[in-house]
């Protein structure tokens, strides 16, 4: 009833090409942004900010990264966590070398380091396709993980083998280290994620995004139309790894506070892949939904039995979690291979024509 586009005429191509052409969607987006930037930091408690919002945003950013590669360009990667690791370690090295430079600069710079490494591991994609490429990303995963653990230089010869986020300031306010408040960390993460989501949205709606999707849908036809496969795929690898790298840097500096190589193991890569599948391949909104669902599921599973007064051992919960995630994936693939994002769209479509069936 409230979601009608009747009477909204588009009088220019620019208006027709807008990402949110319908007024109600634009209002919805404004409400979401207002909630995220103002209401949540104003009213959210510590737990909600540090253990729900920040992690969800960090994972959403990594999911967007993987979605660019897998959802938009059709290249499956099992090395997401490793590229996040590259971002985290690069940011650590850079900020300990040059402590005077603003940390935000280094977070972005670490994205570029990750993008370079990602493009390197994307090089075989010229010769190999499909599932064969999974092996290249697995090579990245295990090789980089090995580097994190075996190269003491990366951790500044720390005996613990871990990296720890030193205290850094933005506008005189600590945003990393022990003294950073959840509010300030949340706002920085939110700012970075919101900006990068906007960039991603612009990319996938333009020439670059069309080239990616063309390669995904029919690579031979794309090449015969003048789209260079290697350039397009490498760009996808680089942009994807950039997002993952920034996400990894945010993860260590603004969420965990410190990290060991075990943070960036293959299971983490799987988890992000699940977020992308359940959220929806080739959907940015879906990346947020998938990240929220997969990240919050264990929290809910932990809290729910206690809230209902059912005693379940922590180990059992963990096992159940595996089963539930597995079942969810299968159910989703069967019911809606395009994930939460498609469900969301179908819902909106229903709303548009409500109360009529079609």
């Amino acid at each position: 009833m409230f979601y009608r586009e009747a009477g909204q005429y588009k009088t220019s191509y620019a208006a027709d090409m807008a990402v949110f052409p319908i007024r109600q969607d634009r209002i919805g987006l404004a409400v979401i942004l207002f909630t995220a930037f103002v209401l949540i930091p104003a009213f959210g408690n510590q737990f909600f900010l540090s253990s729900v919002m920040i992690p969800t945003l960090v994972f959403a950013l990594a999911a967007i990264g993987l979605n660019i590669l897998t959802g938009y360009t059709g290249l499956i990667s099992l090395g997401t966590a490793a590229f996040m690791g590259v971002g985290a370690y690069a940011c650590y090295k850079l900020t300990t070398w040059f402590p005077g430079v603003n940390i935000i600069v280094w977070i972005i710079a670490s994205g570029f380091v990750s993008a370079f490494v990602g493009a390197m591991f994307g090089l075989p994609s010229l010769r190999i396709k499909g599932f064969y490429l999974v092996v290249a990303t697995l090579a990245a995963q295990f090789f980089l993980q090995w580097c994190f653990g075996r190269i003491p230089w990366l951790v500044n010869y720390n005996t613990s083998g871990a990296i720890e986020a030193p205290e850094r300031f933005l506008f005189g306010i600590p945003i990393t280290g022990a003294n950073a408040t959840p509010e300030s960390r949340y706002l920085v993460v939110l700012g970075v994620v919101a900006l990068m989501t906007w960039f991603a949205s612009n990319l996938v709606h333009g020439r670059v995004g069309r080239a990616w999707m063309a390669v995904r849908d029919m690579d031979i036809a794309a090449e015969l139309m003048g789209i260079r496969l290697l350039t397009t795929k490498l760009l996808a690898f680089a942009v994807s790894s950039f997002y993952c790298g920034v996400s990894g840097a945010l993860m260590v500096f603004l969420w965990y506070g410190s990290a060991e190589p075990e943070v960036f193991v293959i299971n983490q890569s799987f988890l992000i892949l699940f977020m992308v599948i359940i959220g929806g391949l080739g959907s940015l909104v879906g990346s947020f939904m998938g990240a929220a669902l997969i990240y919050m599921l264990p929290i809910v599973l932990r809290l729910l039995p206690a809230a209902l007064g059912v005693p379940i051992a922590a180990a059992t919960v963990e096992h159940l979690q595996f089963i539930i995630v597995g079942v969810l994936i299968i159910v989703f693939l069967i019911a809606e291979p395009h994930g939460l994002a498609r469900l969301w769209q179908t819902g909106k479509q229903k709303l548009r024509i409500w109360p009529f069936p079609y």
Partner: protein, 318 residues
């Protein structure tokens, strides 16, 4: 210069100076190669028949072994437990076919691939929930598998072979022979090869896809069980095997996704290559390169032969 020497000359010198060590390393590589090949074999069976890139094959190995040991620990006699484990693998095959494959028929490959991730997670959760997450000991003696080692005196030194490894190699060879016979000579085998070539054509001559898929997954389950027993006997049964099972992927890349001999040869190359690499080149960079070397070997091969060792040259059509 020193670096070049250490990289390109020294390892060969070492091999020459201690041939017994070399033989020992080769043997170790061969044995892990056989196990990789077995995982890859289960994978190839499923890929051939249903075009599904079965990520869960590695977990099926752990799950099968865990079921076997789990039943034994519940007081079931060893061989009855073995039979029950086979039964569980059959149930698993039927369930997977009914619940996952059938509703997803005709979906793009990537969707089916992702679905096997789902199966992987369900199996991990189920296995740990029922049998607990602690590593278990394989019931080697109870199944009358040999223990201990035999030592050979050759090349001026001793080479020691675990009897279980010898048994594993022999059993693997027998299993492959049986499978080859099954596929070449039986009616089901012929139907299976037909399905592998074209689902639609197979359907049109009255072959039941559902039945074939269930059979194939069951066969892959049996292969997984055998692999699980052999592997479990060498170390222990736990989900840590999962990461090692991923090495079946480079093996497949080498051998080609649809070639059984490819899986075997690929497995041996990866197994031996990675042991040699770790033993002779690993120390140069601080060791532990076994975790990624296999993938790099496969990648290097791929760059020169994108179709794998035994694949035919791919002609792209449009």
């Amino acid at each position: 210069m020193n670096l070049l020497y250490a990289l390109f000359v020294d390892p060969w010198v070492q091999m020459g100076q201690a041939p017994d060590l070399l033989v020992q390393t080769l043997w170790e590589g061969l044995v892990s190669g056989v196990l990789y090949a077995l995982i890859a074999l289960g994978f190839v069976l499923i890929f051939k028949a249903s075009g599904v890139f079965n990520f869960a094959q590695g977990i099926m190995v752990v799950f099968a072994a865990l079921t076997l040991v789990g039943f034994y620990e519940m007081g079931v006699p060893a061989f009855l437990a073995l039979a029950l484990a086979v039964g569980v693998m059959f149930l698993l095959a039927v369930t997977v076919e009914r619940v996952v494959l059938r509703p997803l028929v005709n979906q793009p490959d990537i969707i089916l691939f992702m679905a096997t991730f789902g199966i992987t997670y369900v199996l991990i959760g189920l296995g740990e929930l029922i049998f607990g997450g602690n590593p278990k000991r394989m019931i080697t003696e109870q199944l009358y598998l040999p223990k201990g080692a035999v030592e050979f005196k050759i090349l001026g030194g001793f080479v020691s072979l675990q009897k279980i490894d010898i048994a594993a190699a022999i059993i693997a060879a027998i299993m492959i022979a049986v499978l080859a016979f099954f596929f070449q000579k039986t009616r089901i085998g012929r139907a299976l090869r037909a399905v592998a070539d074209s689902h639609k054509a197979a359907l049109s001559v009255g072959i039941s896809l559902n039945q074939i898929w269930a059979i194939v997954w069951f066969t892959a389950g049996i292969v997984a069980l055998v692999t699980g027993i052999m592997w479990g006997a060498r170390s222990e049964v736990s989900f840590a095997l999962q990461v090692i099972a991923l090495k079946a992927l480079p093996v497949l890349i080498l051998g080609g996704f649809t070639s059984v001999p490819g899986a075997i040869v690929g497995g041996l190359i990866i197994g031996i290559g990675e042991k040699l690499g770790e033993f002779y080149w690993g120390p140069l960079v601080g060791g532990g390169i076994e975790s990624w070397l296999a993938y790099f070997i496969a990648l290097a091969f791929l760059l020169f032969r994108p179709q794998g060792l035994f694949g035919e040259k791919i002609i792209e059509r449009i």
